[in-house]
């Protein structure tokens, strides 16, 4: 298991958002978490990535280590990656420079040599081709003035460059038209590997037509309430989440 979440709770102020999440992700698999707005999916992603605004309890083992005791950057060094739902703009910070700084920082902590500008460019170009990234975006500031699709593609490029063990993709499909969705999905599929686990967070089944998961989990009101194979996504698409959440007669799986 690359990730083992046990009874994870998270609050902002008095508001409890995660209410005992249990989830296990084996290395090399693709899992999806689906659920309605406000069910806590994005909070789960943020908490796992180390956002500090939350009061957190429970236990999370990442690659055997106590994840919750680590800072955001330490989690990144260990190989945890979050593709943001809303990628952040960094005015004046060149995209290529940002990527190289991030990669070298991570490499350094993994005991690898840092790449100089020339080596990095060669390294990055292969991955730009993989995600079909427009080269002109590399000399621009990080995400500044990027279209929605370009921002999402830039996230996947970062994933390709940083080569994490676990990548959480938070609503990477939102705001994409069908062509952009296909392109992003193609890139993500190319990044599937026995050494990498992907966790897709999404509202919609359509992403899962392109990136077929090994397992689907349903999250409502801060808990994983159901788990199943890829067909579960189709079932949800037809019947909706609410019916599911209220119908406690449905088998609740995936808690272990």
């Amino acid at each position: 298991m690359i990730l083992q979440i046990e009874n994870l709770h998270a609050k902002v102020g008095d508001k409890e958002i995660l209410r005992g999440v249990n989830l296990e992700l084996p290395l090399g698999q693709v899992h999806a978490i689906m659920g309605p707005n406000g069910s806590g999916k994005s909070t789960l992603a943020q908490v796992l990535a180390g956002r500090e605004e939350y009061t957190v309890s429970g236990q999370v083992l990442f690659d055997g280590k106590d994840l919750l005791s680590l800072s955001a950057e330490e989690r990144a060094f260990m190989g945890l990656f979050l593709a943001f739902q809303y990628p952040v703009e960094l005015p004046g910070v060149g995209n290529l420079y940002f990527l190289r700084t991030a990669l070298n920082s991570v490499r350094k902590h993994r005991g690898l040599d840092e790449l100089d500008a020339v080596d990095f460019l060669a390294y990055a170009q292969k991955r730009m081709d993989l995600v079909e990234m427009d080269r002109s975006l590399m000399s621009r500031s990080v995400n500044e003035g990027f279209s929605g699709g370009e921002k999402k593609r830039n996230e996947i490029l970062q994933l390709a460059i940083l080569e994490p063990k676990l990548a959480i993709l938070d609503e990477t499909d939102s705001g994409l038209d069908i062509d952009a969705l296909r392109a992003v999905a193609k890139a993500v599929n190319a990044l599937r590997s026995p050494d990498r686990t992907l966790l897709l967070i999404t509202h919609y089944q359509r992403l899962l037509d392109y990136i077929v998961p090994d397992q689907v989990h349903v999250m409502t009101e801060g808990r994983i309430v159901r788990s199943g194979g890829k067909d579960l996504a189709l079932e949800l698409e037809q019947h909706g989440y609410l019916a599911d959440a209220k119908d406690h007669t449905l088998p609740v799986g995936g808690t272990r």
């Binding site: 956002r51 950057e73 940002f98 700084t101 991030a102």
Partner: protein, 480 residues
């Protein structure tokens, strides 16, 4: 980046050492006798002594200004020594004879007084000023071959008296303001550059200012003249030892650009900023002004102000020649208890004159940054244009930023635009960087450097690198 920046972020003010130089220093206090003494030491002509005494008399009638948005205890002008000079062992026939201790001090500062071509291929001529006097000027001979005069102010007074007399005070008069009058009365040295007609200065010129002695003020004067069609890029850098008492630095810089001439003036100011509690540091109260005297001339100021306890200055341009251009690019950073009140004055007199102001202030810790600027369009300035942009970046809850733009327009054809923004380094931005494996301190530096990039790209390459390093040093420990 990370090794470089980390190396520098872990360092405190690295220029804070003092050197034990045998120094000729006059007793504290200011009077006509002290001025006569200084003028005498420098063997100055009578006209210059008279000009100093006139300035002194004006100064005694002036009140110290109080409108600025910076706060400091009253300065006791009688408790400052107005002249300090490392004693030369003998008069210098060549650079090889520079006092080894002075040379060692500059080596430690990373400034080479040897006339070596830089590896990067950029050659820079350096005038090194310690306390009140210039100790060495490099590449003089090579510059002289194309007619460029680059020397200490004192030397210019001796050897080029006519030029000095013609231009001294022509842009900043000896009664311009309180600190300019004080400077005119007691200034001791500085740099002088003269670029003859049609000459593009073949190398960057720079002056490196170093305050070494304690309890002294530094009052230097720089005068740069670019004749018709001439151009020059000039850099100034400055550092001072760490001392727990404040020291006053009241300089005057005058630039004169004749027809079609271009002067680019860049400053990386890194005077000692005081300690983390706000004790000590330099008061950097400077008057800098350029005169675009001829048509289609251009003067461009770029400043990166990271040092000093207080920075208070408004490098400006008087746009007298038709079609002349004035530019001002500024980064001012205040951390700990530093204060800055800085900006620019653009005075449009000639027709179709253009000016632009780009100011970036960064405030961290208890730092207070103020942009203050004046754009004045006279009734003669048909078709004048100005664009001003002021951006402030705040870090932490105790820092502050203010903007005071003054606009006076007396011709209806003028186009004056002003944009301003204030932002905080967002948690979102920091988290994004950290999630990618960039530690918080490096991420902060990266975001601030990004914020300042438009200004840094105006600096000559080597200075741009130095400026980025200074920012990261100054920001150390100011996050959270």
């Amino acid at each position: 980046m990370s090794t470089d920046i980390r190396e520098f972020t872990e360092r405190e003010y690295k220029y804070g050492f003092s050197t034990d130089l045998d120094t000729d220093i006059v007793p504290r206090g200011l009077s006509e006798d002290v001025i006569r003494l200084i003028s005498g030491k420098k063997k100055e002509p009578a006209w210059l002594l008279d000009w100093r005494l006139e300035a002194y008399r004006k100064w005694t009638q002036k009140k110290e200004p109080r409108w600025q948005n910076v706060h400091y205890e009253p300065i006791d002008y009688q408790d400052i020594s107005y002249y300090a000079a490392p004693k030369p062992k003998k008069s210098l026939a060549s650079l090889d004879e520079v006092d080894p201790e002075v040379r060692a001090m500059f080596d430690k500062l990373g400034i080479s007084l040897a006339e070596q071509e830089r590896i990067s291929g950029v050659t820079v001529a350096v005038d090194a000023v310690v306390d009140s006097v210039s100790v060495a000027t490099t590449f003089k001979k090579r510059l002289a071959e194309v007619g460029v005069i680059f020397c200490s102010f004192s030397e210019a007074v001796q050897n080029h008296s006519d030029l000095v007399q013609q231009y001294l005070g022509s842009v900043v008069s000896n009664q311009d303001n309180f600190f300019a009058s004080l400077n005119a009365a007691v200034f001791t040295d500085g740099s002088f550059c003269y670029i003859p007609k049609g000459v593009q200065c073949p190398m960057e010129l720079s002056t490196y200012f170093r305050i070494n002695a304690a309890d002294t003020g530094q009052f230097e004067r720089t005068l740069i003249i670019a004749e018709e069609g001439a151009s020059v890029s000039y850099l100034e850098g400055c550092t001072a030892p760490m001392r727990d008492k404040n020291q006053l630095h009241a300089a005057v810089v005058e630039l004169v650009a004749l027809k079609d001439a271009y002067i680019k003036y860049s400053t990386v100011q890194n005077w000692y900023p005081g300690d983390a509690q706000g004790q000590g540091g330099i008061y950097n109260f400077v008057t800098k002004r350029g005169l675009c005297a001829g048509s289609n001339s251009k003067i461009s100021w770029t400043q990166v102000e990271t040092g000093s306890a207080i920075t208070w200055k408004y490098p400006g341009v008087i746009l007298q020649g038709d079609g002349s251009v004035g530019e001002f690019y500024s980064v001012a950073l205040t951390a700990n208890y530093q204060q800055a009140d800085t900006g620019s004055k653009m005075i449009h007199i000639g027709k179709n004159t253009t000016s632009s102001i780009l100011s970036k202030t960064v405030s961290a810790g208890h730092g207070q940054s103020t942009y203050r600027g004046l754009v004045q369009v006279h009734d003669t300035a048909i078709g004048a244009r100005n664009h001003t942009q002021c951006d402030s970046l705040l870090m932490g809850k105790d820092s502050g930023a203010s903007t005071f733009p003054y606009v006076e327009v007396k011709h209806p054809s003028a186009k004056v635009e002003h944009e301003a923004s204030t932002s905080k380094i967002g948690e979102d931005q920091l988290f994004y960087c950290r999630q990618r494996g960039i530690p918080e301190e490096d991420a902060t530096t990266m975001i601030v450097n990004g914020f300042c990039r438009e200004v840094f790209k105006e600096l000559p390459m080597e200075f741009a690198v130095e400026a980025q390093r200074l920012l990261s040093v100054s920001l150390e420990g100011s996050i959270g």
